[in-house]
Symmetry: C2
Subunit: 764 residues, 2 copies
């Protein structure tokens, strides 16, 4: 019997360590002589730093270092534009920007020291909205720039204007989406130390140890080899722990300055201020459909706000502007997207990476237009869905798609066909409705570095068990479990016989990290390559010892044995040990690299099949709207995820339901509130993520479209499911009460206001 | 200009971390919640454990575990015989044997708890000498054995009796050698913890991380993959930190029992009791020479005492019985060596590994016989010395030898030819004399596992610098520096651009560890293999980018450039980065294995060329003997080491002088004193290692015989130089005052007694 767990639900391999409290998050690390860091942040969205006096802070006993922008690193950093200092110098551009950092013998002392740093600011006028930023008279947020446009994307394919002219129905509306805080359990945290050899060593909560190392080296002006980054157990990332925050930089800086270990753990407010939140976008969408609901033309204009520093926002906006075009067969698309700087806290990567914003608009639009055409939105989705084997308008080659199946599955689950009769079940002011939305996402993305590979290194120990090194991060999504499953499957050994070592830049292979839903497809494939290389060595070893050609051998059940005489075999332990003994001490240690055979998009045309696979999802929800209070309650939700193949169904369901919850939070509850550019609800009491009582029993389904490039057919399964939620809810609200909220979040106030507007006579 | 440091003196790459106090020895490691271990040891050399009451110890607040033999691991361990329990059960076999172990919240508490463990012993008669042990009536130290003979070696080659019959001179004498404590700066120390995944993780001071892991796994009954061993900075080993002590085992045991980190650091007395000391041997040597001083026959009988457990003593005795035969051309050799158990602290591996004992006898003998033949001992050594290209009596193929050059060098240095006039310089009771001795050693040894290879893994970081993984240990002898030099040379980069990671069984390649002077030759060659593989990848990358065949490229000066147009080149940083970018994210990461093309000796005949190379040394000393006090003072010492090629002359001189000091200590000062089987001088006040004022300015020279198998000709350079010291001193004493001390150490009492005996009329 095979030991493989592929396709069966297994607990995460690191679950026990977490629930037992043994997992070492960065904040749990204690080193002898360790100091505690704290960061002083700007209270103003825009101000000139006139003078900083650190004398008193430095004089506080126990304070070991106070660093300001003037004596801090002078190297600018940023993903798209190198524009940000680790500690602001001369000017602050958002309320919350890092101004000074302290290291002291206790966290309390470090906090006290912040109060003793006297910063003289000259407050300056702040640009707080994209509209202000785009005013030609507006001063640039960043000096030396002609305007506040950080990035701009324009493209057109087909003949959009002609297609609109011929369309049966043209609909245009503007949608506004707001920013969401990732809300991971573990705030950003790092412990940095200078090791015995004077190298900087940093344990950090991250999605990418190697990207962190590269930036630490660049900003702190060290060769990368003088920096070692180890991923500590990471309590969630959701895009927020890629490379847009300064936590590890400041910890590293303080460690270098003091020569002592420094722990820098954000408290929740600090994390709200430090973490890039999702990119708020204003989206004006115009779609043309023929009489049957076929989309024939699309025009979209986006104004996105990156805040004071652009980080990954340009890439996020790129996704908003393009990705959903590839869901449909429509060849006439046009986008114009503009990313602007404002004096607000920076935005950037967030689960879904720009997909959620556009898919809110697109799915709302499809629902609205289907209704105008008196069509079932479900049918309109089906009609437009791209199919397997097709190449999309942007050159994406769809190797697999389960979109139609996802739509059917969630429609079935929610009782879509019986939707007209739902209001029978409710009384009084309550109105029920159903809504539906569809989504697509990438699994991997060549555009990260004009490559999209991953490398896995395996060592087979003398007990026949495997130690796996890879630097794709498990931040809770299950990468370690997936990798263990793949290796255990390939070598046919128990899952517990694979140990995954946390990413460590000194010993792990170079990897990009966990983003773009790439890990299952690229690292999963790399794990197959590495496992098969290891298996090849085991077979060769057995062949020599059993005097049988490898073709006559089988690796199964923890042994390699003769196919024709299964009792003639050797355990993997015997083989691994024999390999050492018969190869001059060389143990079985192999690496496997798998690079997606994708193509970089052309920089002029933006055409190119950038991902080895594309994931799809759909969601159907039922809501109950209280027309007296405006409250929208979710009654039921079913998200269907086409992850290609569910290597670990329990993990896929976990991702789907988590994504659904996060989407529901964004749609109904969470709202990052800024007053005069300052976040005023940076805590979990006021920033209301949905608690379990605010959610229905979330349901999810899996569609296995079996991608030809995926490991065993699998694609990414952690991001697509977040994408359809907002539109599904908005569509259900319309279904329930006939009002269309286009401005997220859907608050009771907006619902009541809309209901009131509808009741009032129209203005002339 | 080349960046290579090969052949030039460079400071150890880890010297700075040590002198700055930053290096993390195991005892420096502090983990949250760490407990401290202590070990209760038997006060008796032989006793039955009637009862152990741990109630009071366990009741002491802060005590977290008390483990005894009854509830400790039941798996027997040992290198040659599995015969030793981690904690004694039922019976103790030496004074100092581990009886119970405690873990408590402080070291003081743990020590207090030891006093509260009540052990009822029934004292039994102890066998304290090999003579008692070999008495046919003696009860066996280990039940179930027929006698106290742990191991026996017998061989004869040629026709020894016939050769003796034809010899011009036959001389026989018995030499006795005593046990030496390795006296490293850092006592044995381990910190063990159970990691988040429940695996046992141990930092320890060791010469072999993988051997430690294997034994931890075996004894604690864990799969090896559930154990991770990391070599902490190690402050000396000298053979004592291979695998014969229980420190890491007990630390691991206590960590598993308590679920908490446990630090177990020997104090000096504990270390004297716990560490295997060198094997004391009684050697009866009979040599036959022809008239010219040519050795024509050799017969040796050895009785060696392994103490209560044999550890590596059998292998040590094997070396005593055979190795020095290979220095000479004599084909008639016979050995009979017997290893016996006694109820004394165990002996085992020690720098020189049995060579020092036999070479004391052999060199004393050659000196005595040369004098009888009225020959210069120097000429006798030269006459007998095996030459390059010859195969020795045991089948050793001498690829290189600088023995004759070593003899000449040290004789020149000491002024050997002018030795007759030395006493002109002294007055009164002082008499001066010169002595000389020669030695050989292996560089590597296939007999460890019927292979003798090593593996080095290299990663080239994006800055063009190298991270090196290997699990051959640097315990102060300079392995990290040697490996860095080799890689820097091969890639022509600065030494500082190579970072050597400490051995870690999770990420380092499998290696045997640092013993048998194998690291320079086997790991050095592996580093060449790995470096050239890395260079091959750099050249291939450059070839693609510069559109030039690799044959037209050169890797030099931190670049790969076109030979014909050196300005057309790319830095290693550019190439390493490009490799990632052009190979789908795969960084340059290679392993290189080098296995010596040696042969395992035949188990019946003991014939076989077991090492890739053989090192030679010679030493000449001048002593001053005070005939009134019997005091022997070393006036001058020059040791010549044939290390093949001095990759780092400063390091070779350091090894040579350290070895000379250790040999001088053994010969004149150090004496492990046992009373009734108990070590009574287990401290540095009473166990008198030579302090600087007891040593002359030690001098050393290097002979470069350029071995064909060594990396750049190099052989091992840390053990051979310890071998000739004792005989050189004994011979010098004879030269000075005409008495021959055959019983080490050479104490004033023995000198005075011998002088007195010589002055007295002979008994009839």
């Amino acid at each position: 019997m095979s030991a493989s767990t592929l396709g069966t639900s297994v607990p995460q391999v690191n679950a026990r360590s977490k629930v037992m409290g043994r997992a070492q998050y960065a904040g749990d690390i204690k080193l002898p002589g360790m100091l505690h860091g704290k960061v002083l942040r700007s209270p103003y969205p825009h101000a000139r730093i006139v003078h900083i006096d650190v004398t008193q802070a430095l004089a506080l006993p126990g304070v070991k270092a106070v660093v300001t922008g003037a004596d801090g690193p002078q190297v600018l950093w940023g993903v798209h534009h190198k524009e940000r200092l680790t500690l602001a110098r001369d000017v602050v551009r958002f309320a919350g920007e890092e101004v000074a950092a302290v290291a002291a013998t206790s966290e309390d002392l470090a906090r006290d020291a912040l109060d003793l740093i006297h910063v003289e600011y000259e407050e300056l006028p702040a640009i707080l909205t994209p509209e202000e930023a785009l005013d030609p008279q507006a001063p640039p947020v960043h000096p030396g720039r002609a305007d506040n446009i950080s990035h701009e994307i324009r493209f057109e394919r087909g003949d959009v204007d002609a297609a609109f002219a011929q369309a049966h129905l043209v609909h245009e509306a503007t949608y506004t989406t707001h920013s969401q805080y990732p809300g991971y359990m573990e705030p950003m945290a790092s412990v940095a130390t200078v090791d015995a050899d004077g190298r900087l060593q940093v344990w950090t909560s991250t999605q990418s140890a190697f990207l962190v190392r590269a930036r630490l080296a660049a900003v702190l002006e060290l060769p990368v080899s003088r920096v070692r980054v180890i991923q500590a157990t990471t309590g969630g990332g959701f895009g927020g722990k890629i490379i847009e925050d300064a936590n590890s930089l400041i910890a590293g800086l303080l460690a270098l300055r003091t020569g002592r270990p420094v722990r820098l753990v954000n408290n929740r407010l600090e994390d709200f201020l430090a973490c890039a939140t999702s990119v708020p976008e204003g989206i004006t969408l115009k779609l043309g459909m023929d009489r049957e609901g076929r989309i024939v033309a699309k025009d979209v204009r986006i104004v996105a706000d990156c805040g004071a520093y652009s980080g990954l926002s340009a890439e996020v906006m790129h996704v908003s502007a393009m990705r959903s075009d590839n869901m449909h067969r429509n060849g006439n698309v046009r986008s114009h997207a503009t990313l602007v700087y404002t004096h607000t806290p920076p935005h950037g990567a967030f689960r879904g990476f720009g997909g959620a914003q556009m898919l809110f608009a697109l799915n709302s639009h499809i629902d609205a237009m289907a209704r105008k055409l008196d069509l079932d939105p479900l049918d309109v989705h089906r009609l437009n869905a791209i199919e397997r084997g097709e190449t999309s308008v942007h050159g994406w080659k769809i190797g697999s798609t389960g979109l139609v199946e996802c739509l059917a599955q969630c429609a079935d689950a929610i009782g879509w066909s019986a939707r007209r009769s739902r209001n029978d079940a409710v009384h009084g002011a309550k109105r029920r409705g159903l809504g539906l939305a569809a989504a697509m996402h990438v699994s991997g993305n060549r555009t990260i570095g004009d490559w999209d590979g991953s490398t896995v290194m395996l060592k087979i120990d003398e007990d026949g068990r495997v130690v796996l090194h890879c630097s794709e991060a498990d931040m809770g999504q299950g990468a370690m479990t997936m990798l263990s499953q793949v290796v255990a499957h390939e070598l046919d050994i128990p899952l517990a016989h694979v140990h995954v070592v946390a990413p460590d830049t000194d010993s792990s292979p170079w990897c990009i990290g966990s983003l773009a839903s790439r890990v299952t497809i690229v690292a999963g494939n790399a794990a197959i390559v590495a496992s098969r290389a290891a298996r090849g060595k085991l077979l060769d070893q057995a062949s020599a010892m059993l005097q049988t050609p490898t073709a006559g051998l089988q690796c199964a059940g923890g042994t390699v044995h003769v196919r024709a005489a299964p009792q003639r075999g050797l355990t993997l332990a015997e083989l691994a040990r024999a390999h050492i003994w018969r190869h001059g001490g060389e143990g079985i240690q192999v690496t496997g690299t798998w690079d997606a055979r994708t193509e970089m998009f052309d920089k002029q045309t933006l055409m190119g099949n950038i991902a080895p696979a594309y994931s799809f999802a759909a969601q159907a929800v039922e809501v109950e709207v209280d027309i007296e209070t405006g409250q929208v309650a979710l009654i039921d939700s079913f998200v269907s995820d086409d992850c290609g193949k569910a290597l670990n169904p329990q993990a896929v369901h976990g991702q789907s339901n988590g994504a659904a919850a996060q989407a529901i939070g964004w749609t109904l509850y969470e709202r990052l509130q800024l007053e005069d550019g300052r976040i005023v609800n940076g805590n979990f009491a006021d920033y209301t993520m949905p608690s379990p009582d605010a959610l229905p029993m979330l349901r999810s389904g899996i569609v296995e479209s079996n991608d030809p490039h995926g490991p065993y057919g699998a694609k990414g399964a952690s991001e697509t499911a977040i994408l359809p939620g907002a539109a599904a809810i908005a569509n259900a609200v319309f279904d329930a009460v006939g009002i269309r909220i286009t401005d997220l979040p859907i608050t009771p106030e907006k619902v009541l206001a809309a209901l009131r507007r509808r009741a009032e006579p129209r203005h002339a």
